[in-house]
Amino acid sequence: MNTRVLFVSVVTVGALALTACGSKGEAGPSAGSGDTLTLGASVSLTGKLAREGTLTQEGYKLCVEKVNAKGGVKVGGKTLKLAVSYQDDTSKPDTAAQLVDQFNDQGIKLILGSYGSANTEAQAAVIERNNQVMVDSSGADDKIFAKGYKRTFAVLSPASEYAASIVKALADLASPKPTSVAFLSADDGFSKTAADGGVAAAKAAGFTVTGPELFPNGATDVSSALNKVKGSAPDVIIGSVHLAEGVAIVKQVKELGLKPKAIGETVAPPTPDFVTTLGAAADGVLGSSQWTKAVSGKDDYFGDASAYDADIQKAFGHAAGYHNAEASAACLALVLATEKAGSTDPTAVRDALAALDVTTFFGRVKFDATGKNVTKPMVVIQIQGGKAVTVWPKDMAEGSLVWPALGS
């Protein structure tokens, strides 16, 4: 009887695997053939990054809509309709990498990044091996770009700028100038890189620095870290965090009776949920953002930043967050480079991306030798009356910094 079972399973393995994947003869290269250009995107639709993953997908969707509204992608005399093949990587780096391989099988060589540094880093290694090319919309950890990869390009500013920009904004704008800063950080690679960048900037600006104190990525209780910095009564608390920890910091600073003049956080404050979750408690919090609707620059597809905001509002019923914008910008960069290359060949597109220098609704997009977009500044916002108001850099400011930021 065991033998039967075995036999059955032999058959199932063979049959299942064959049907699952199709044989080599069937699946042909599909991207760039006919009159459609298909990009591959593994997005985190389920799992712990589902929130940001969904915003990323919205950004890609809007890009497809806008590009096709202009007729499509003009490649060497032909106009191709743009399409994106979406797969859910369930927020796991190994699946994200596996999906890039699957796209490669289908002949899809032009890839849009997943959400987050871990996923992007896993993908970048595969992209390099397969001679694909990827535009990364959200993997900001500087580590990704220190590995000599030639085929991954990020439209966004690197992680080291996230907390540093808040420090610079405070040094620039706050008066009376604060003297001490305490850093808190989630313990993932991206957040730690961001916190380290912030610490360096704070020391350079002459602040007294405490921390960074770490807590687990995704924590909803950060009281112990706050308790540790409470003794030094810092003027400013800067959290290098994602949304959940960012909300926890604001709530628990109040609960624990800390009285900083300001709280600054990476990633969390510009996200629409930040204000809806915290309500009035969000007021005064500073945040760094890759993009806001005050960013200057425009392009033929999206118009300027406020037009982009209106389009997201129309299509998805909420204000545009920078996760939307960076995704749309990544897609746009890939489209523009493909048009410039006049070919969908990944190596030609890669070279065009390396030489790309355009101004878009997202700001200037130009990559350095490692693939980072270093020309674009980070923007600092402050929540004022439930709205994210751009306060820094000065030339983009929509309003002035309220200081001290947290009342009292």
Binding site: N2, V8, L18, P93, D105, G189
Partner: protein, 336 residues
Amino acid sequence: MAAEQLRYRPTVRTATPWALGVLLVAAALALQTQLYTGQARTVTAIFMYVALALSWNLIGGYTGYASFGQVVFFGIGGYFTAVAMTHLGWSFWVALVASGLFAACYGALVGIPLLRLRGHYFAIATLGMAEGTREIVTNLPELTGGGGGITLPTVGAAATTPYLGNDGFYVLFLALAAIALLVTGVISRSKFGFALRAIHQDEDAAAAIGINTTRTKVVTFALSGFLAGMVGSAYAFQQVTIYPERLFDVEITVLMVVMVVIGGSGTVIGPVIGAVALQFVSEWLRQNYTDIHTLLLGGIIILAVILLPQGLANYVREARRTGEYSLLANVRRYRL
């Protein structure tokens, strides 16, 4: 006497499973020629789970000790390899075996105290052990890179072993799955295997008939750790960059349990069937129903559990013996 029956007699009947095992591996190798490299990678993930499910089956299925921290072996196997290759410049192949041994030693070490616990207490203690180990790995950033992950040297001069590529990993994971299958097959037919089943059924009675239960359990735990540790090692090399969050993910343990239970626990072939079926179904759902795939997977698991609570392999075996093929009869048996 029982001992007489236990002795290994190479007849056609006993030889058939081995032959089929070889056939299974041959079929998998033949399949590879038909796959694109990305598809090969997808199938590689199936092999990985086959090997992991088989490793869990030894301690959870045969011995009846539900290890809820089995992923710890996978994790420390992966991290041992990462650290050995990055900091010590070891070749991957040395690190692969060493990772297995390291995980086995770890298993023996924690197994000695933990295997005194039974049932739920063992389950929760192993879970705690796995989570605790992850935190230790996270908090040694000089060694392990901490939460930011560690990247294995696979390119340039630092690379100690050339990267295997999707085709190479296909063969590697297939080999690991085959080793796990072979180990399980040998144990299942050996006296040792019967000792495990005896412990599962009644540990005190097993001790009474002269089985050194502590030693047997610890050896089994270490062995299952060895298998899972090697899988973790291969996984780390394949992924290049690894993170504690993923290497010690509870979900991987849960998947092992799910696969073994769906396929049939305490059997040789059950975990293989379970791993293949579950991986296949979840992959298929993800590709075709991107928006609701885990919802569907949840529904399918619920149905499978209600209709086939004893697992496919055990169901087929019993149905053939009793001639009762009805799934409804199956439902009746565990119903309140």
